[in-house]
């Protein structure tokens, strides 16, 4: 999604001179055009993420619109307190962009993965997290985040969708397949694996791709669960504080207790590898998910 992100930032920056882009010394082979287009409004802040975020908070305090970019773990975990104190507690218009969320940086290893970012940031006051499904979402998501006054986090990932997959207009939770057997929710680009797994079960799977946390309008999802009585949540994120727990809380409030299955990122129990390897280890690949969906559907009969 980096290419789409860079193209979008270029457009936004040209249209709005208040946009300031800060990077923590990352963007090689991706942000050169942004740097060229923005001139002095493109700032390489160095490998100093804490300072970068506080600087961005002050720029926002003075009426500017800063975007802070790094790879997801560096953008979120290192400057966590600066995001909480300087940005969120002051409800400032700072956007944090983390590339390669989840296992996105694969063989780079655990330091370069971000499996807990949504849990952390979605718990902060005023913060909204955006997790685009696919490359085609990026322009809409970035524009939405930028046009929303207040802090936002955008988790970019690998979002190449199948050429024959059509997606409806963007919303926080989009129905990609309609069915009555099980309700299926997936967060961000891992939903593309889910789509591959679920496409052969047409009519049986009510499938929503979720791209925002907290999810403001979850009513279609709740209505679906009421019908199916079965829920599968898939996310490339740890169990705690992710989409699964978030939906469970909403369902409990509705006094709903569906059959519940959860596939999530479990961390490092079988060494390191590519993003696909980690997805396979955690049952987040299309093959494993297809088997699980089949089992859940067969238990209906």
């Amino acid at each position: 999604m980096r290419k789409e992100f860079a193209e979008t930032v270029e457009k936004i920056a040209l249209a709005d001179k208040k946009t300031v882009f800060l990077t923590g010394d990352l963007g090689f082979m991706a942000l050169e055009n942004v740097r060229k287009a923005m001139g002095g409004r493109f700032i390489n802040a160095g490998v100093c993420e804490q300072n970068m975020v506080s600087v961005a908070a002050s720029l926002a305090m003075e009426g500017l619109k800063p975007l802070c970019y790094s790879i997801a773990p560096f953008a979120v975990f290192r400057p966590c307190e600066q995001i909480r104190n300087d940005v969120c507690l002051h409800n400032l218009d700072v956007k944090i962009i983390g590339n390669g969320g989840g296992y996105g940086y694969g063989i780079m290893g655990a330091s370069h993965h971000a499996l807990e970012d949504i849990a952390l940031l979605s718990s902060f006051q005023h913060m909204k997290c955006f997790i685009p499904l696919c490359n085609e979402d990026v322009e809409t998501v970035v524009s939405r985040a930028v046009n929303r006054i207040g802090p936002a986090y955008i988790r970019l990932g690998y979002g190449l969708k199948p050429s024959d997959m059509s997606i409806p207009a963007y919303s926080g939770a989009r129905r990609l397949l309609r069915g009555s057997g099980i309700t299926l929710l997936a967060l961000g680009p891992v939903a593309l694996n889910v789509f591959e797994a679920a496409r052969d079960y047409k009519g049986a799977v009510d499938f929503f791709a979720v791209s925002e946390m907290p999810l403001e309008d979850a009513q279609p999802v709740i209505d679906s669960v009421k019908t199916t009585g079965r829920l599968l949540v898939v996310e490339e994120h740890v169990k705690r504080g992710g989409l699964g727990e978030y939906i469970c809380e909403l369902l409990v409030r509705q006094r709903l207790s569906p059959f519940f299955a959860h596939r999530y990122a479990k961390g490092y129990h079988k060494g390191y590898g590519s993003q696909k390897y980690h997805q396979l280890c955690d049952g987040l690949d299309a093959g494993s998910l297809k088997t699980l969906i089949g089992e859940m559907l067969s238990s209906l009969t």
Binding site: V55, L59, N85
Partner: protein, 278 residues
């Protein structure tokens, strides 16, 4: 509420100082609160900046947010914070907690602080914004030695120098004590002057950070340097300054005033005022 503006009328500023400290001591007594030593350590620095140094457009960040009571009283003397607001210090529902608020409720407090190591970055960001907004101001930050323990402060120092922030002033309240020990024994910052200079700051030392003339001379020397470097003033101070039972004592960071101590404190501040204006 006073609205004095003594400029370089040091005698007038001494009166403001006495009033501010007496109000602050009463606030601390009423709240049964600590951090008194840290506030007394930087009171004169804050007064000097707000009454004699900064223009209305200049920006100020109290990085050592635990000295908030001193800032509140200085802003009160400056006419920016009411007596009613001061009376709410530490009370449930107040904006004036032990550390500066994030709710923009106080004129003169741009950012809430309290966790050390944020102030210099916030100042650097404010200063950087000039480049895009065309506004003109200087940015002042008061830091503790605890602030100088934090890596983020040195990230900010690198950034400020990289971006030629000649109007950014870092003022280090150099009292030699921090949260749980003497600074030299906890995490030795010396040679502090050389450290800031090595980070490409112009550095001056105020040998008595409680003396307005000394502070003024040090700032004048910094301003005379010109050039593109950011500025650092290391103010030699005394934690708990002005109170015989608090000066240079670690416990002045935490402990509140007893009734007897309060009476002694008021007496000592009034006596010192008489000496300071002599």
């Amino acid at each position: 509420m006073m609205n004095a503006n003594p400029g370089k009328d040091w005698r007038g500023l001494e009166t403001v100082r006495k009033d501010a400290i007496l109000k602050m001591l009463r606030m601390y007594r009423d709240a049964n609160a600590g951090h008194i030593g840290a506030s007394l350590s930087c009171m004169e620095i804050l007064l000097y900046l707000h009454f004699s140094r900064m223009t209305p457009d200049d920006k100020f960040i109290l990085s050592k947010g635990h000295a908030a009571a001193a800032l509140y009283c200085v802003l009160n003397q400056r006419g920016k914070l009411s007596d009613e607001a001061l009376a709410s210090f530490y009370r449930d529902g107040t904006s004036l907690a032990a550390h500066p608020p994030c709710d923009k409720s106080a004129d003169g407090i741009i950012f809430g602080t309290g966790s050390l190591g944020h102030g210099l970055s916030l100042s650097a960001g404010l200063y950087l914004s000039r480049k895009f907004t065309g506004r003109h101001f200087n940015a002042y930050t008061v830091l503790s030695e605890g602030d100088c323990n934090e890596g983020s402060t040195w990230e900010a120092a690198l950034f400020a120098a990289q971006h030629d922030m000649s109007g950014l002033f870092a003022i280090v309240d150099n009292n030699g004590l921090q949260g749980f020990g003497k600074s030299r024994e906890v995490l030795n910052l010396e040679p502090l002057e050389k450290k800031w200079a090595a980070f490409n700051f112009d550095v001056e030392i105020a040998s008595d950070g409680h003396d307005f003339r000394c502070l003024d001379a040090a700032f004048a020397a910094l301003a005379a340097r010109g050039g593109r470097r950011p500025k650092c003033l290391i103010a030699k101070t005394i934690k708990g300054h002005g109170l015989s039972f608090m000066e240079n004592r670690l416990e002045s960071h935490y402990l509140p005033l007893s009734g007897e101590q309060y009476k002694t404190a008021v007496k000592e501040i009034e006596e010192s005022y008489a000496q300071r204006i002599r």
